[in-house]
């Protein structure tokens, strides 16, 4: 499962297209803002009743989000025992140094800039999928009492 946190529908569509183009068949859950993302991850609110142990293999996190910004989401993920080990890939338009520093500081596993060129974007998505979903060893699930 891939969790895509993205408020831009175009980007969502393009990301899904890129994933599809490269035959990445994993389930993609899309949340529109940070709060919704956290609700999903922690199986609360709208996602109450979901099995929280069903965690995404990769979280693609945009930084610029309504309600709860990407960095806040990242901080919340790292603070919660359930989510703290999850691989988070920051996928954003920003090349601001500050964003890079803060993202890595808060424990982002990767930082990828969205290129304007769709072919480049597609390639980036392909490589991310290849790496995080296949090559990378998933972190162990937290033991729940």
């Amino acid at each position: 499962m891939i969790l895509l946190v993205e408020d831009n529908e175009d980007d969502e569509l393009l990301t899904l297209r890129a994933l599809a183009r490269h035959n990445i068949k994993n389930q993609v859950v899309v949340t529109r803002d940070g709060a919704e993302a956290m609700d999903f991850l922690l199986a609360q609110g709208h996602y109450n009743g979901r099995d929280p142990s069903d965690v995404p293999a990769m979280i693609l996190l945009d930084l610029k989000l309504p309600k709860m910004g990407g960095l806040e989401v990242l901080r919340a993920i790292r603070k919660n025992e359930l989510t703290q080990l999850l691989p988070v890939v920051v996928l954003t338009s920003s090349l601001e140094e500050q964003d890079l520093i803060r993202s890595y500081g808060l424990g982002a596993n990767s930082y990828v800039r969205k290129p304007v060129d769709f072919h480049q974007f597609s390639e980036a998505v392909r490589q991310l999928g290849l790496y995080w979903l296949i090559l990378n060893q998933k972190p162990p699930l937290p033991k729940r009492a």
């Binding site: 980007d11 569509l13 290129p115």
Partner: protein, 754 residues
């Protein structure tokens, strides 16, 4: 001789006087004695005379009695014999009475009594004659006769009583006269004794006086002798002294000369000889002021007037020595009165050397004074210990507006505003300067016209070598302009601070703006590009060639806009980000960039020549961006050059080290050189060479932020050179200078084999 003759004549006069006085006294005494003796003799004769009168009166009384008895007997006995006895006795009585009368002629009282006796006698005589007649008638007449006899007896008693009274008077008289005689005798005796005594006394006195005089004379003579001796001694002593003084006068270094009132030199000591060079013989008899060509400080008439009035004169004279050189002397003149008339003693001290030294120091002082007075930018003046102005220079006049005569003598607190005076600032400043030696202050001061100026003031205490306070020097600078400038600067600073704050706010906005730009503007581009691609991929069978081409153009435009946005953001960031300063090896940076470029397009053959060990101080990231842009440009514009070469190095231009990136690519027209560094300015078409026109603008911004400058040279088709300077790193200057470019240039070949 004189005194002695005087003395002798005085003695003679004394002797004569003594003798004369003695003789006179003796004569007076003799006369006096003579008269005493005469009066004694006289008194004796008057006693004798009285005795005669007494005896005569006694005789008269006895004769009277006899005569009366005779008458009676005649009456009784016979007439004839009795009668003759009566006649005899009466005659005697008459004779006696006559004698008494003549003897007492000088005594009126006795004469009166004699006259009474005469009248009584007449009466008796007549009775006697009556009796005589009776006798002839004889006895019958006895009664009448008895009566007559009684009368006669009575008369006789009366006469006798008168005579007795007379006698009594005479006896008293005699007693008186005897007394007189005894007194005369005593007087005479006294006169004789006194006379003898007086005479002896006068004689003895005369002798005593003369003897005394004689003794005095002897003493005086001895005194004269002694005085003479002493005088002689003193003359000898004085002569010796004078000789000694004359020697002393010659010992003195001062010129000592004696001259007549008209200036004729009478005495000229050795000092004068050595000062003026004229010998005693040369000077003698000359007129001083002619010989020495004296220049007087005052007209000579005035000097002489003072000299005559006060007896002295002192002053400075200029003389000319025998050798013609000038001499300045301190001269002192004293008038001396001598028996030969007044003369002038002149003592001259040679002060030529000290005068010259004084003149020299005066000249130095004068020069210094002129220097101080001439200083225009500083008010320099002196205060007395209580703070009154004593000197004034031009600077002070210019700054404060007072002329020297307006301010000298006034208290310096006049320069302070009223509030400072009230708080005691002026006196506090003097006190501080006196205690610390120096006081410095900045503050408002007043000009003469009452206007304020901002002053820097330094008050320095002036002390003599003993440490006594002589006063203060005060240096005042008008800092009004500086103050204005400072005020302006601080106003500007405040303004800059405000602007800075504004800029920071703007920057903040810009930051969020560029964030938005980078994030939000790119998203639609991504959509455009992405969906264009999707159309081409998914619907290519439904599109003809031109439809596909349009979609391709849309994609290209979107990509290009994305690049523009990125470059814009980079440019903005280079202007904005904080710079760090570190030692950066430009040579290795350039090599890295060259490798990177080669890595991106390995097919190109470009010769890189990079000078090693070029170190600068700066921001590594920004400097890397500079090299990326410059080398990237060179790479890009040599893409159509067959034998492309790119060189990075440095050269000296004057004192400055200039770095350069040179290529042999497309070059540019120098007419547009100034447009090279403008944002979005491009000299080549997008078709020929891709680019956004932001790169060189970014480079220029970075170089400027390093305090350097950048410029370019080129010709179309002949390549371009970009030069830039950075503020040099001192510690590396020598290292850089040691680097000789020609020897150390290395060629980096990135051939097809790489």
């Amino acid at each position: 001789m004189g005194p002695e003759s005087g003395f002798k004549s005085r003695l003679g006069r004394k002797i004569t006087a003594t003798a004369l006085i003695t003789v006179a006294v003796l004569v007076v005494i003799s006369v006096w004695e003579y008269r005493s003796v005469r009066s004694l003799l006289n008194a004796t004769s008057w006693v004798d005379h009285t005795d005669v009168v007494i005896s005569t009166i006694n005789s008269a009384r006895s004769n009277l009695h006899i005569a009366s008895t005779a008458v009676q007997s005649a009456m009784l006995n016979g007439r004839e014999t009795a009668a003759s006895g009566v006649r005899d006795s009466s005659a005697d009585f008459d004779r006696d009475l006559r004698a008494v009368r003549s003897l007492t002629a000088d005594n009126p009282g006795q004469q009166i009594r004699i006259a009474e006796i005469d009248s009584l006698l007449q009466e008796q005589r007549s009775i006697e004659r009556d009796l005589a007649s009776l006798e002839h008638s004889s006895v019958m007449v006895s009664g009448r006769m008895a009566a007559k006899l009684n009368a006669q007896e009575k008369l006789e008693g009366q006469i006798d009583a008168s005579l007795s009274t007379m006698l009594h008077d005479e006896v008293i008289l005699r007693h008186q006269r005897t007394e007189d005689g005894r007194r005369a005798e005593n007087r005479t005796m006294a006169a004789i004794a006194l006379g003898s005594l007086l005479a002896s006394a006068v004689l003895i006195g005369g002798v005593v006086i003369i003897r005394g005089d004689l003794r005095a004379r002897q003493l005086a003579e001895a005194e004269v002798l002694r005085a003479n001796q002493e005088l002689e001694n003193r003359v000898t002593e004085r002569t010796r002294e004078l000789a000694y003084q004359a020697e002393l006068l010659d010992v003195a270094h001062d010129a000592i000369l004696v001259r007549a009132l008209d200036g004729t030199i009478q005495f000229w000591n050795k000092g004068a000889e050595s000062i003026y060079g004229f010998s005693r013989e040369e000077a003698h008899g000359k007129i001083t002021h002619v010989q020495l060509q004296t220049q007087f400080p005052l007209p000579i008439d005035q000097i002489n007037e003072v000299l005559v009035r006060t007896g002295t004169w002192e002053g400075e004279l200029s003389h000319v020595r025998k050798d013609g050189s000038p001499a300045v002397v301190a001269s002192r003149w004293v008038i001396q009165q001598t028996p030969e008339g007044p003369r002038v003693l002149e003592i001259n001290t040679d002060i030529t050397a000290s005068k010259q030294a004084q003149r020299k120091s005066q000249r130095v002082e004068e020069r210094f004074r002129l220097l101080v007075e001439g200083v225009r930018d500083y008010g320099i003046f002196l205060l007395d210990p209580t703070g009154h102005v004593t000197t004034w220079n031009e600077g002070a006049q210019r700054i404060k507006g007072y002329l020297a005569h307006e301010i000298i003598g006034r208290h310096f607190s006049i320069f302070y505003p009223q509030s400072d005076i009230a708080s005691g600032k002026p006196s506090y400043e003097l006190k501080e300067a006196a205690a610390e030696g120096r006081f410095e202050d900045e503050g408002w001061r007043l000009r003469k016209d009452g206007s304020r100026f901002w002053a820097n003031v330094i008050i320095t205490a002036l002390r003599d070598p003993q440490g006594n306070l002589l006063g203060f020097s005060k240096i005042t600078r008008d800092l009004s302009e500086r103050k204005l400038a400072e005020d302006r600067i601080s106003a500007l600073n405040a303004e800059i601070l405000e602007r800075n704050e504004n800029l920071m706010a703007v920057n903040k906005e810009l930051e969020s703006f560029s964030y938005s730009v980078s994030h939000d503007l790119r998203a639609p581009l991504r959509s455009i590009h992405g969906f264009s691609s999707a159309l081409l991929e998914d619907y290519s069978d439904q599109l003809d060639a031109s439809g596909k081409s349009y979609l391709q153009r849309i994609s290209t435009a979107a990509t290009r806009m994305g690049q523009l946005i990125d470059n814009m953001i980079q440019l903005a960031r280079t202007a904005r980000i904080e710079m760090s300063r570190e030692n950066v090896n430009l040579s290795s940076l350039a090599t890295e960039v060259a490798n990177q470029l080669q890595g991106v397009d390995p097919r190109r053959k470009v010769q890189f020549r990079i000078q090693p060990d070029l170190h600068v101080e700066g921001d590594r990231t920004l400097l890397r961006s500079v090299l990326e842009n410059l080398l990237g440009n060179a790479w890009k514009f040599t893409s159509k050059t067959a034998d492309a070469s790119i060189e990075f190095g440095s050269s000296k231009r004057g004192d400055d080290l200039v770095y350069f990136v040179h290529d042999n690519g497309a070059g540019f027209d120098m007419r547009y050189a100034d447009k090279l560094f403008g944002v979005f300015q491009r000299l080549h078409s997008e078709k020929d060479y891709s680019g956004t026109g932001v790169g060189l603008a970014t480079v220029q911004r970075i170089i400027q932020r390093h305090g350097g400058k950048i410029w370019a040279e080129g010709r179309p088709g002949e390549g371009a050179s970009f030069f830039f300077e950075l503020t040099p790193v001192k510690s590396d200057v020598t290292a850089m200078e040691r680097t000789v470019m020609a020897e150390n240039v290395i060629a980096v070949h990135k051939g097809d084999g790489a």
